[in-house]
C-alpha cells in the first residue's frame, strides 16, 4: 500500500502558497510512511503525480471567509466539470481523466484545504493567519494517514 501526500499551491500568489509550505513539515512528520510531492502545476499534469498510489491526501488552499480555517472536502465536493481550456482544468478533472484512462490512481482521497481570502494577490508568502494553520494542518494530515493505517 502506498500513500501520496500531494501539496498544491502557487508560491507567488501569497496565501495560495500555503499548500507548498506545508510539504516540508508534513514530510518531517511522516518520514518514510508516505511520499510527499508538491507542485504548482495544475490540471492534467497532476495525473502523472497521482499515478501509482493507493491512497492520497491532498493539501491545498480554498477561497473562504475565515482565512486560516481548515476545511475537509470530500471527493464529491469536487465534481468534474466541462472546462473551456487546458488552463482551466482542476484536480477533479485530472482524477476523472486518469481513472477513465484506466491508470492506477488513488482509490481513496482525503482533501484538506486551508481557507484563504477570496481576493488573491501576488506576493511572496502567506499572511500570518493563513500560515498559522500549519501545525493543525500537519496534525490532521498525520491523523488521516493513521486512520488509513499508514502510521
Amino acid at each position: 500500500m502506498k500513500l501520496l501526500i500531494l501539496c498544491l499551491g502557487n508560491d507567488l500568489l501569497g496565501d495560495d502558497g500555503i499548500g507548498l509550505e506545508a510539504a516540508e513539515p508534513i514530510e518531517r512528520a511522516m518520514g518514510t510512511k508516505a511520499e510527499v510531492r508538491s507542485t504548482s502545476m495544475s490540471g492534467l499534469y497532476l495525473v502523472e503525480l497521482l499515478e501509482g498510489f493507493d491512497d492520497a491526501i491532498v493539501v491545498d488552499s480554498i477561497p473562504g471567509d475565515h482565512p486560516g480555517r481548515i476545511r475537509e472536502l470530500t471527493p464529491n465536493d469536487l465534481k468534474p466539470v466541462q472546462v473551456p481550456s487546458a488552463h482551466f482544468v482542476g484536480l477533479p478533472e485530472a482524477i476523472h481523466a486518469a481513472r477513465g484512462a484506466g491508470l492506477r490512481v488513488p482509490r481513496r482521497f482525503r482533501i484538506l484545504a486551508v481557507e484563504i481570502p477570496i481576493a488573491q494577490t501576488i506576493g511572496a508568502s502567506p499572511r500570518p493567519e493563513v500560515r498559522g494553520a500549519l501545525p493543525e494542518l500537519v496534525r490532521r494530515v498525520t491523523e488521516a494517514a493513521k486512520e488509513w493505517g499508514y502510521v
Binding site: L8, Y45, P84, H87, F88, G100, A101, I122
Partner: protein, 488 residues
C-alpha cells in the same frame, strides 16, 4: 449598441469565465461578449528583483506552460546581458522546448480539441470530455497518450533540473548538459515520439477529416475571420518555436512585416475597451478599426493556425508533407477557419516530434560548452518564443547591477484576444436564432474560443482549480433571461 450594455467587470471573486449574449426582439443575437478574469501584476512583482530570478518567477505565472515563460525569460536575459549562448546550449534549450510543445499540443488535442471532434460537437455534455474520446478511440489509445506524455515530462524534469518548475535557463546558456547515457535513453523516446505524432495525425484523418460534417463545420462561415497572422520564423520563413524573426502576413498571405523581437513596440499597439480588462493588441501600421476583420483592420492572430499561415513551410520532412496537404485540402494559404487550429496543431505535433528527433541525434547535443559567462553591464532585454498558443514576448529593463526596474509580458492569448472576441460574437450570431438556445448550440459557441485554448487566469491554484464557464443570456430589454453554469 455596445454603449447601452453594462457588464460588470469580472473579479477574482467569481472565478468564472463569462459569455454574455444579448438578444434582439426577434430572439436573434445583437452582440455576444466573452470575458474571463485576468490576473495581472506579475510585471510589478518583478520590479526590484534580480534579473536572473525572472525565469523562475515568470514560470509560476502559468500552471500549464511554465517552460514557455521560463524560456522566453531566459532569452530576454541573454539580450539583457548581451551574451550569446554556445551552440550546444541553444540546442539543449530548443530540445527541452520542443519536447514541451509536443506534450502540450498532444494534451490539447486529446483533452480539448478531441472532445469536439472525436466525440462530436453536439454530443451530450457528459460525453464531451477525454473519457468520451477514450471510449470512442479505445482505452489502449488513451493509455498510450498518457504514457507518452509521461515520458516527455520525464525528460523535461531530468533536463530542466527540478520537478516543479524548470531551472535550466541561465543568461548565456543552460545549467546542465546532456550526458551520452541520457542522450541514448532520450533517443529511444524520440523514436516513439515520432511514431506517436504520426498516430495523432492518422487519428485526425480517420475520425475528423473522414467525416464530411466535421469538415463542413471547420470551414463554416461562423468560425471564419480574415485577419492578419503572426509567427516566429527561421531564415527560410519556416515555423520555429525557439528562435527567428517575427513575420506578419496579410489576409491574402503576403508578407507585410518581418522584424526582430527587439522592435516589437514599433509594430504592435494595444487598444482598451470599457467592458474588459483585457487589452487588445493590433498592428500599429493599420490602426484599430474596431472588432472587424479584413485588410483594413489591424487585428491579427497567433497560435498554430496563425503560425502556419505566416510561414512558407515546415522545417522537417513529414511535417512539410502535412503542411502541403493542409493547404491543399482547405483551399490554399492562408486558411481563415478558426477551427482549423486543431488540424494545424497536429501538423506542429509532427514537426515537434521530428525536431526532437533531429536535435537528440545531433552530435553537438552532448557538447560540454554550455555557457557563455556574461560580462556586459545589463540595461534592457527582450526575448521571444512561440508558446503553444502563440508568440510570447518578455521585456525587461534593469539598473547596472541587474536589478529589474521594469517588465512587460505580452502573452499569446493577448495577441488573440480581439479575434477571440470576434469569434464568440460571430458564432453566437450564427448559432442562436429566434431565442432558441440549447446545450449543443452553446457548445458550438464555446468551440469558437476553445480552438485558441485561451489562457488568462491560469496562475490560480486554489481548489477545485478549475474554471467553469457561465453563460448569461439577456433579452432585448437587457433583462437576464437565462443563466447557465458549465459545472454540471
Amino acid at each position: 449598441m455596445a454603449k447601452q450594455i453594462v457588464v460588470n467587470p469580472i473579479t477574482r471573486l467569481e472565478g468564472h469565465g463569462k459569455i454574455s449574449i444579448f438578444l434582439d426582439d426577434k430572439g436573434d443575437v445583437s452582440r455576444a461578449y466573452f470575458q474571463i478574469p485576468e490576473l495581472r501584476g506579475f510585471e510589478n512583482f518583478l520590479v526590484g528583483r534580480q534579473a536572473e530570478d525572472a525565469p523562475q518567477i515568470t514560470s509560476r505565472i502559468c500552471g500549464v506552460c511554465p517552460t514557455a515563460h521560463h524560456t522566453a525569460a531566459t532569452k530576454a536575459l541573454d539580450d539583457l546581458f548581451k551574451v550569446d549562448p554556445p551552440e550546444t546550449a541553444k540546442k539543449i534549450r530548443e530540445l527541452i522546448y520542443t519536447i514541451f510543445m509536443l506534450e502540450d499540443h498532444s494534451l490539447h488535442l486529446f483533452f480539448l480539441g478531441g472532445p469536439d471532434f472525436v466525440v462530436g460537437p453536439t454530443a451530450p455534455k457528459a460525453e464531451r470530455n477525454i473519457l468520451g474520446v477514450i471510449q470512442k478511440v479505445g482505452l489502449d489509445i488513451g493509455k498510450r497518450v498518457i504514457a507518452m506524455r509521461k515520458d516527455l515530462r520525464g525528460i523535461i524534469t531530468e533536463l530542466g533540473g527540478k520537478v516543479i518548475h524548470p531551472v535550466f535557463g541561465l543568461p548565456g546558456g543552460v545549467a546542465k548538459g546532456v550526458t551520452e547515457e541520457a542522450r541514448d535513453r532520450f533517443k529511444e523516446v524520440a523514436d516513439r515520439g515520432v511514431e506517436f505524432a504520426l498516430f495523432c495525425e492518422e487519428l485526425l484523418e480517420d475520425v475528423v477529416l473522414g467525416n464530411e460534417d466535421y469538415v463542413k463545420m471547420i470551414t463554416s462561415d461562423a468560425y471564419t475571420h480574415r485577419t492578419y497572422y503572426m509567427g516566429l520564423m527561421d531564415s527560410k520563413d519556416r515555423v520555429n518555436f525557439y528562435e527567428g524573426k517575427i513575420r506578419v502576413v496579410d489576409p491574402s498571405g503576403n508578407q507585410v512585416e518581418r522584424f526582430p523581437v527587439e522592435q516589437y513596440q514599433e509594430y504592435i499597439a494595444e487598444h482598451s475597451e470599457p467592458w474588459t480588462y483585457v487589452k487588445f493588441p493590433y498592428l500599429k501600421k493599420l490602426g484599430w478599426k474596431g472588432f472587424v476583420d479584413g485588410e483594413e483592420s489591424g487585428i491579427y492572430s497567433v497560435a498554430p493556425l496563425a503560425r502556419l499561415n505566416a510561414s512558407e513551410g515546415m522545417a522537417t520532412p513529414k511535417a512539410q508533407e502535412l503542411y502541403e496537404k493542409f493547404y491543399e485540402t482547405l483551399g490554399g494559404r492562408p486558411v481563415h477557419h478558426t477551427l482549423a487550429n486543431h488540424w494545424a496543431r497536429v501538423v506542429e505535433i509532427v514537426y515537434a516530434a521530428e525536431r526532437f528527433h533531429e536535435l537528440i541525434n545531433d552530435p553537438e547535443i552532448i557538447g560540454t560548452d554550455i555557457r557563455t559567462i556574461p560580462t556586459e553591464t545589463p540595461k534592457e532585454g527582450i526575448g521571444v518564443v512561440e508558446a503553444p498558443r502563440g508568440v510570447l514576448i518578455h521585456h525587461y529593463k534593469s539598473d547596472e547591477q541587474g536589478i529589474l526596474t521594469g517588465a512587460n509580458l505580452l502573452v499569446a492569448t493577448q495577441h488573440n484576444s480581439a479575434r477571440i472576441a470576434m469569434s464568440v460574437d460571430k458564432a453566437a450570431r450564427a448559432m442562436i436564432k429566434g431565442g432558441v438556445v440549447d446545450d449543443g448550440i452553446l457548445n458550438q459557441v464555446e468551440m469558437a474560443f476553445r480552438a485558441y485554448d485561451p489562457c488568462h487566469a491560469c496562475a490560480t491554484h486554489s481548489l477545485p482549480g478549475h474554471m467553469p464557464l457561465k453563460i448569461r443570456i439577456f433579452d432585448q430589454n437587457r433583462s437576464l433571461i437565462r443563466e447557465i453554469r458549465r459545472d454540471g
